[in-house]
Symmetry: C2
Subunit: 464 residues, 2 copies
């Protein structure tokens, strides 16, 4: 063999390793070391990953646990992969944990595709192992080639910056040390270190879209740019940074606009649209909307300008009233539950505290006057059989000291309680009578006084 | 023919037209109307564009001029296209201007590809026509299909948000009203209106990369998402907004960091990286760097942190000294030109003004003391044969009133003039003697005084 050839190959492998090392360091994958769960299928990518981490374990203070899932999908071939992974781990003195799961059966039960179900099984297993072993990270063997495929798949679906930024190098405890290397580079690495690996047949079967991209699109793009995978990964990296930056700004914008359970539209509208749309995305998500589509976000944006109400998803609407954007689900928010002492957790996430209050406190502590006025009532009236509930059509209320009885809705109007607060507001009812209403205070019959034992109602928001 | 079919087709065409109308309005393509130059090849896209604009000319207060370029590349076929466009314009009463250009010959002369040369010829022609007719816009027939191809080409090359945002709907006087429609939708439009058009053969010949994307990549992606062109266009639109937003922030960041001809690194480093990299891009561009690559920008970013000097392009380096980033080209900035009165335009873009100053002004106006001190000299010494030049190795200077002569470089050191200002600093020389140096003032022999006529030197920056 030619000596130059050998050293050229060595130099190439060295460069590949350095690239991955720098990537791990710059992405702060293992800042303090610790136990790492390494997902290993036995294919070239994950075998290279395990070998790479083993070689760096001492330097980075890592202790590794390999995790292999036998999906039971490919009979003998799957068993061969499992044996291969076990053997590899034994050779390298790395503990190996294996899960057997009948993914075909489970996917039918879960009513999802084999690929999605397989992913669910793997990550559930990895996360359980991570918890069990107090791991600092789960490492998976995604490559720049996977990244390029993912970006193209998302582009094809019309994603924005978020989707186009593809697979995260570091996200929620999962790290991808090889995301900077192409599949080709990993093959060079494996060959250089004489690593054997299994042909990962599943790659060629299960994910229809990904395989089309891999087998029919990438090869054409490679004729235009042989380094297309690295190029697309680079684009994804830059888009991720852009997107994160704009999301950070959106978070600040949301904090600035916060107003009770809602957000001031005038404040949101001052933001440039990319920031505003992300703020709306986050606001909707906080209210349980899941990941909204671009169209939904544009509709929400229009709502800021025009006011009114739109339905986002089943049971969730967005509404602008009196310059405040808020989200609501009338069905979900209607509830009636027994009052418990000293704390009742409300279905909307708030906590209602009931505290007995002494006559001394009541007399002396004038600084809480306003809070006292609206939140104080006769303890004896609420001590049993009391229900906490949201308003109902036809509720009537007889406020303390006014000698009248009116529909609750009208009283709230007169008290200028904004509609978006009314929807969440609660009341205490006992034997058909409203004893206290949020924002209005005690009723005539639950009227507090210096001559009796009183209770103080305190409502704590859930931080929304 | 079935009536339902007809009305379904009508509804489809109406929707297509509405989409383009809304796009033109929301992108503010013709806010005040006026003359529009419409590039027409005779193909489906540009024929549809001309027809669409003709139908909206009254509503949007447009007067149209069609512009056709016969590239002389396809013999009879090209002549047929030209005849077709002329006929079309005659039928629709639209003035038509035709340019004949031997693009094959010109491309050899300009040493560029046929496609690039053809583009150069077309846009030069359109712009000349626009100028000649006081046009408000040039309209071209780019479609969502072109957009998807462009985005994929840029992605393949590893572009960031800027490249991935593809073709601009509105940019530097060029508007693309059909950028929201796919080629398929335009065919439906043409068929619906019974428009005939030429097969645009050039599309299938010249641009190698684009045609690979069009013929080999898009068809595969369409099997994953039949609306892939619209999806990719949507992604491009959102990325454009993100990118513009971040560039606006970068502009502000640059303004905040401005310090003389350079920028404070401490101020730039406070910015999030996506903003900072764009600020560096703009700063380098202002200094004539052209469009820097992602790698160049990362190097520039590292320079902020580490200090030192890097070469960006031939004859342009970036340097950090004393916490200031600046760009320079030592070769370009060395000059020696005759001083002219009252103004000399310097090769670096600054303007040097010489103004006689009365004894009265000199005596009374103490508020300009500092300016006077450094920028005042004896008018008689500079009135003829004076040269304005940058420093040379070995320059010596004898400052007024100090009775010494020193190397200019050392004097500047002692005066704490930062190196990045020195490089641009100028001096006045007459018959081998330095009479005045920027930042140091007059020499002994050009020393100003109340007993003689003095001149004031004022230097105006070029706004960099």
């Amino acid at each position: 063999m030619n000596d130059d050839l050998i050293s050229a190959q060595k130099a190439e492998i060295l460069l590949i390793e350095q690239k991955a090392e720098q990537f791990v360091v710059s992405e702060k994958m293992f800042p303090k070391g610790g136990t790492v769960i390494v997902g290993v299928s036995g294919g070239a990518d994950s075998t290279a990953l395990l070998h790479f981490l083993k070689n760096h374990a001492e330097k980075w203070n890592l202790s590794l646990i390999a995790a292999h899932v036998n999906h039971g999908l490919r009979g003998e071939s799957a068993d061969h992969d499992e044996a291969f992974v076990k053997e590899c781990c034994q050779k390298w003195a790395i503990p190996c944990r294996v899960l057997h799961e009948d993914v075909a059966a489970l996917s039918k039960k879960r009513k999802e595709g084999l690929e999605a179900c397989g992913r669910y099984v793997r990550y559930t297993f990895f996360k359980a192992l991570a918890k069990e072993n107090g791991a600092v990270a789960i490492a998976t063997a995604h490559t720049a080639s996977d990244q390029a495929e993912t970006v193209l798949m998302h582009l094809c679906r019309g994603a924005g910056a978020k989707g186009l930024s593809g697979i995260s190098p570091v996200h929620e405890g999962i790290v991808r040390p090889l995301l900077c290397l192409t599949r080709k580079e990993i093959e060079v690495y494996c060959n250089g270190y004489h690593l054997s690996y299994c042909e990962d047949e599943t790659n060629w079967d299960l994910d229809f879209s990904r395989n089309k991209i891999r087998r029919q699109v990438i090869p054409v793009l490679k004729t235009l740019n042989p380094k297309v995978e690295t190029a697309v990964s680079g684009a994804a990296f830059r888009l991720r940074e852009d997107d994160n930056c704009l999301f950070e700004m959106a978070k600040s914008a949301l904090e600035q606009a916060a107003h009770g359970l809602g957000w001031e539209t005038s404040s949101l509208m001052k933001q440039p649209r990319p920031v505003r749309l992300r703020a709306l995305f986050l606001a909707a998500k906080k209210n349980g909307a899941g990941e909204l589509s671009a169209d939904h976000l544009l509709n929400l944006d229009l709502l800021l300008l025009q006011g009114g109400k739109i339905t986002l998803t089943l049971g969730l609407h967005a509404e602008v009233q009196q310059g405040i954007l808020f989200f609501g689900d009338p069905k979900k928010q209607r509830f009636a539950i027994p009052l418990s002492f000293p704390e009742t957790i409300l279905p909307d996430g708030r906590r209602l505290l009931v505290r007995k209050i002494s006559q001394k406190e009541l007399k002396n502590d004038s600084k809480f006057h306003n809070l006292f006025f609206f939140n104080l009532l006769n303890y004896a009236t609420i001590s049993k059989n009391t229900v906490v509930r949201t308003q109902l059509e036809g509720d009537r209320f007889r406020p303390a000291g006014r000698g009248i009885s009116k529909p609750l809705r009208r009283m709230m109007n007169e008290a200028h309680i904004p509609p978006y607060l009314r929807e969440n507001s609660i009341l205490l009812e006992r034997e058909g009578e409203i004893l206290w209403a949020e924002g209005l205070g005690a009723s005539e019959s639950a009227r507090p006084g210096v001559d009796r034992q009183n209770a103080m109602i305190i409502i704590k928001e859930n931080g929304l």
